[in-house]
């Protein structure tokens, strides 16, 4: 039996990340207590270093499949990996001061963060059930732990517990589904599964198995009704972790969904399309409606991210053109949405952390009058919030546009209905986003005048980078649209 073919160039990002994990772990042992903050620098460097081969590979342009098609490095995978790494890097920036200033374990924190990132990069390339499962657990388990990182805070514990339990339960359901899929299709590789799908065999059992498989990722993207963990976990977890959860971890779920649906189960669209239709509609509506009543900004963002997840699910519900071929633009729509969502949500959390450093609160009321004493934070926060709402000229509008475009392209009654649901939801969403923005701008500064909010450099960078990006995307969406297009060509 020949030795398996290893394309080390293609695996370089993962290898670099693994190296970074080890380096961070070892360095943590070597550093003095007061030097431990440097582990954040190492982690950051690790993220950026892993980006280098990705750029090289993207420039190189060839698809590289390994291990019998179980692991593929194509443009789609590269785009997603880049997204994960950048999101990871921003999370490191967000975490640096937060973790250093609190009473937290630093080296271990970054170890876990990098491990989760490793899981995500693997997920981007994974094209078989086992690898997907492993990647999912690799990106999940460290985050279960990170959510409870504030060990002495009961809320953090609770956050960790809920996240863990719901995560494990849904992965159990997913595994059950995968086992049936394997049993029916006879292979774990998605391309082989697609062949089985094409035969049309499997009956309802296969439909249900597909559904069970998707549940694991519906949990990850916190789609209603698998979302219950999200608000509680987001609220209780350390804020940088929440940012990471709501962006990177969620994207991880979507990447898996994209691979599974488009590569594996595509032909079985009568099974997954209605399910995802329901999940999309329910996520948007429920997420937005509950968000209306939130008093805590993190919690509100949690519900908002549930709703945003619903928007990203919309293109799935119209993905099949009806003749078995993938609708051009639907896949792209989800990717573009993911990219833009990552930018704006990370930005929002960055500002949130910056504000919380000053006010020691994430209550929405504590934002009153922010504009008067920290105009830059207020302006950037408003930008991110309105971008999430999809108001031009901020990037979010383009994300919404591509989703609507996919829906209208389909043009069927179900599709248009979903489009109208989405349109109405985008209006509801504006209400709570604008309410926060309104508080910041319209209310007078607090009685003590608010003072000034000092923003450390790392955090400042974590705010500035998304701000610039979000404006750039909004004005010239081609920037990200091209990435989406690129990713689609890979598939």
């Amino acid at each position: 039996m020949p030795a398996p073919y290893f394309d080390y160039t293609a695996l370089l990002p993962e290898i670099i990340l693994t190296g970074a994990i080890v380096v961070v772990l070892v360095a943590d042992l070597l550093f003095e207590e007061r030097e431990k903050y440097r582990t954040s620098t190492l982690a950051g460097v690790g993220c950026l270093a892993a980006l280098v081969p990705i750029l090289y590979l993207a420039g190189n342009g060839n698809d590289r499949a390994m291990f019998g098609g179980a692991y593929v490095v194509d443009n789609y995978a590269l785009v997603m990996k880049a997204l994960f790494l950048v999101a990871g890097y921003i999370t490191v920036l967000l975490s640096a001061n937060y973790i250093e200033e609190g009473d937290y374990y630093q080296g271990e924190y970054y170890t876990l963060l990098l491990t989760a990132l490793l899981g995500m990069t693997v997920m981007s390339s994974a094209r078989d059930l086992v690898t997907i499962f492993v990647a999912l657990e690799t990106l999940s388990i460290p985050t279960y732990l990170l959510a409870g990182w504030r060990k002495h805070d009961a809320k953090s514990n609770e956050s960790s517990l809920k996240y863990y339990l719901m995560g494990v339960l849904s992965s159990a359901v997913m595994l059950y589904g995968m086992s049936i899929v394997y049993g029916l299709a006879g292979d774990t590789r998605l391309t082989e599964i697609a062949k089985y799908v094409a035969t049309g065999a499997g009956g309802h059992l296969f439909d249900v198995a597909i559904f069970f498989t998707l549940v694991g990722f519906a949990f990850k993207v916190s789609a209603v009704p698998f979302h219950f963990w999200a608000p509680d976990s987001y609220e209780g977890a350390p804020t940088p972790v929440t940012a990471f959860l709501s962006v990177a971890s969620k994207t991880g779920g979507f990447v898996a969904l994209l691979s599974l649906v488009y590569v594996g189960f595509f032909g079985r669209s009568d099974a997954w399309q209605p399910i995802l239709w329901v999940l999309a509609a329910a996520s948007m509506t429920v997420g937005n409606l509950i968000a209306l009543r939130q008093t805590n900004l993190v919690r509100m963002l949690a519900y908002s991210s549930i709703a945003q997840g619903g928007f990203m699910l919309v293109p799935f519900a119209v993905a099949n053109q009806g003749d078995g071929s993938a609708r051009p633009g639907a896949f792209e729509a989800t990717i573009v949405y993911l990219l833009i969502y990552a930018v704006m949500n990370l930005g929002a959390f960055a500002v949130l952390i910056a504000v919380a450093r000053k006010t020691r609160s994430a209550e929405i009321d504590s934002y009153a009058g922010l504009f008067n004493y920290a105009p830059a934070l207020a302006v950037t926060m408003s930008m991110f919030l309105f971008s999430l709402a999809g108001i031009p000229p901020l990037g979010g509008w383009y994300a919404k546009l591509v989703v609507f475009k996919a829906v209208l392209d389909a043009g069927t009654a179900q599709a248009v209905t979903l489009g109208v649901v989405a349109a109405v939801n985008s209006v509801i969403a504006l209400f709570y986003y604008a309410r926060v923005a309104g508080l910041m701008w319209f209310r007078p500064a607090p009685a003590d005048g608010g003072g000034t909010a000092r923003v450390p450099v790392a955090l400042g960078a974590a705010i500035a980078l998304p701000s610039v990006l979000i404006l750039a995307i909004g004005v010239y969406p081609n920037l990200f649209a091209r990435l989406g297009e690129l990713a689609t060509k890979g598939l």
Binding site: M166, P274, I275, L292
Partner: protein, 655 residues
Amino acid sequence: MAEKAWLIPLLPALSFFVILFFGKKMPKGGSESGIIAVGTSFVLAVIVAAQWIKDERIVDQHLTWWSNGKAHITIGQHVDGLTAMMFLVVTFVSLMVHIYSTGYMHGDVRFTYFFAALSLFTAAMLFMVMADNLLQLMIGWELVGLCSFMLIGHWFEEKNNSSAALKAFFTTKFGDIGLMLGTITLFFAAGQTFHIETINKLALEHGALSHGLVLTAAVLLFLGVMGKSAQVPLHIWLPDAMAGPTPVSALIHAATMVVAGVYLVARVYGVFWSGFSIGNGGLNWMAFIAGLTMVLTAALAFVQDDIKRVLAYSTVSQLGYMVAALSVGAWTAGVFHLFTHAFFKALLFLGSGSVIHAVHSNNMSEMGGLKKYMPQTYWTFVIGTLALAGIFPLAGFWSKDEILLGATKNGYPYIFVLGLVGAFMTACYMGRAVILTFHGEYRGHGHPHESPRSMTVPLLLLAVPSVLIGLINAPGVLKFAHWVRFEVPGVEFEPPEHKFAVPLAAFSFAVAVAGLAVAYWVFYLKTAPNKGAFARSPLRTVKHVLVEKYYLDWLFVTVVVGFIKGPLARAAYWVNQNVIDGVVNAVGVGAKLVGRFTYDVIDQKGVDGIVNGIGVSASETGGVLRLVQSGRVQQYALMLFAAVGLLAAALILFT
């Protein structure tokens, strides 16, 4: 010169801007600018008129103002006899009023502004008169309405005055709906043009336009006429309009603006003629309204104490005559009455202004015996009264006689009868006014004195035409009918003309004299405290006759006059104040109430309520959904598995 007739309105318009921007810095507060401009316009008007008389050449020119595809909206001038006459009337009366006002308004807080408004008014009126198309006419029409509003509300500090201004504007604006819609109807009927000559032509050509269309247009336009020329029941604004300074009343609410409606009918006569089938005689809507107006408002004049209101009701009544004339086909008579009325009514108003200026009150109960204090005013006022009453050979006699003549000859006997009744009443209430104002004892306060020359000179200047002007259409002369006639080039049409009939003239003259006599009887003899004075009066013989023939006395005093003065007039006045005016006020109040209902109930609670309701219910739904998020992880898990089970079941059942 006729080609340059547009200069006539332009000059006062320029004057308006000059006064507006520089008036306060001028030595005479801007009045000189107005007088010069209007004076020059008057001279130009005279030239235009002279040229018209000489050449009788109609000038009809226009420029494209703006265009919409092939339809061109134009602005232009149409100069014919009617235009020339109106130019003359407007500029002359306006000039008189300008001069008069320098005295009357002396020391007023808004002296300059007053003259600016006068100039603007003159310009707008002339612009309207000059119009060769309905749109332009309408624009001028509305602009004079604006000036009327400004001038009625001149002393806006008092709520009554501003309310009167609002009422005037609002009521005429209501009529303007008709004008606007009528204009639009004719615009499309005539193939997308407002050109009056074309419209008249089409209206008179048999079969060019359907009768229904022309009738619709005529009715609509007449609604505008009713508003502007104060025909019953839209007359209620005019007496209130007397809240403005008296010169304004003379110029706008007697001599010029209010005749705009009459002018409109005369100008677009083709439409009215065909629309109301005037040539057929009998009853038509226009004649009916005009007949009512003549008599009813004349009766109202009896019970007024305010001298200006007497004149106001008189004006309404006389406008009724003019419209009646046109409605019976007596085009020349109507226009001629417009012409003569302008002079003597302006004279009367200015005279009353002079009185008011002297006694600082409008009420005749605070006047009396002014004859000896202000003789010039007295005599000119008497001339005006006689002219208005239709005493031979003063101006009013000729024009009124022609109206009655037309009514009989063209088959409108009821207009004739109403006209006679009206003539009697006119003479009677004017007699009353003269007596109450100038005769008897002075009942006011202070020391009345004759007005300054700036005021008396215009009175004298107006008195001259009031006496003489009627003669230009006297039998044998008949120049007016020739100079001012309705003609549409290309159409064989002329309103009927009739020969002066002596018996009829004599009869109407007699009626007028009777009216004056009764007034003398009732208001002088019966009420004068000094019987002795009466005993020595030259009218003793008359008194004797009347006293001796007691039944006649009874008949006149108790039955006729008593009825008119008492129940009829009072009832009419009551109806006027409470019903017609009440309706107008109720419309105002009602609109307010409807508005409030619309806003408070429909808008705020209904439409807005739905909107807010959606918001609230969304938020409430969110609140309910929050309950599901109980915080207990195993409930979450239960939801998760339940969802898994149910969705799987659904998947099996529905696919």
